[in-house]
Homo-oligomer: 151 residues x 2
Amino acid sequence: MNREIEDAGFGADSELDCSTLGLMNKLRDAGLRPTRQRLSLAHMLYSKGNRHVSAEALHEEAEVAGVPVSLATVYNTLHQFTEAGLLRAVAVESSKTYFDTNTSDHHHFFIESENRVVDVPASHITVSDLPEPPEGMEVARVDVIVRLRKK
Amino acid sequence: MNREIEDAGFGADSELDCSTLGLMNKLRDAGLRPTRQRLSLAHMLYSKGNRHVSAEALHEEAEVAGVPVSLATVYNTLHQFTEAGLLRAVAVESSKTYFDTNTSDHHHFFIESENRVVDVPASHITVSDLPEPPEGMEVARVDVIVRLRKK
DNA sequence: ATTTGTGCAAATCGTTTGCATCTGA
DNA sequence: TCAGATGCAAACGATTTGCACAAAT
């Protein structure tokens, strides 16, 4: 087991905490090999509370942290995580895609002046009187985006 | 007045109906010169009920209709219209921007399999218990997107 | 005459892809 | 071993921009 962790690229001075072990299982469960890059990215994503990151931002963060990952791999990883249900893509504005580490039922504030996304617990917004979907269609998800501007 | 309309590029066989006159005023009121291209685009946008178009789609539509407009002008026009409150940008997925000719308070169905947007009257969705916006912020708008998939 | 809009082509931005190379089970 | 992952650079699609030309007031 220790061998495995070593192989994954965590040297003697790295934290070999249960969070890392948890991540490996998280990835395995999702059918994704716990590679060095995926573990690093997962670590950055999930060890700081709920986050909303763009591919570009995560890539830079990795560089700063001295973790060599190509941008293409960041994109691949984000999409794989999303497909696996480990992340959720948030569509706030049609230019950048934001990935939300919070996959539970909730909504979003979008602060337009800062291009920043903030979670709003689902319990704090009630959507009712939803109309019937057209024939043969069903509701996949309801996204509520509360756009905020400076007062 | 008729002169003006002729200058705007509407020949003898064009419909010089009040809809066109209305459009000219609509543009003037928005502080936009009623040029040939803007009038044509406005006409395509507003004479067929509520629509959700992408720049690319509108550009093609113009070409088919024999109205020569460059794609850059279509983009410019759509943005100008949006700033003027004549259109509303809908963010459904982070790749294409859709422009909605319905600027009144309402929400959207998004049919993922067809990349199609459909209006839902605001009266058919109730959003309640909205949380307090952070200090110094106010709600600019609440967007509800009901994502549909084939059953 | 002066300001504003238009078209084109090149530039940019975010994202995806092809392919040779490497790595984990 | 060998399917699966990575990196790089080139390809891509949507959108923007710079600038010469044309049209509107």
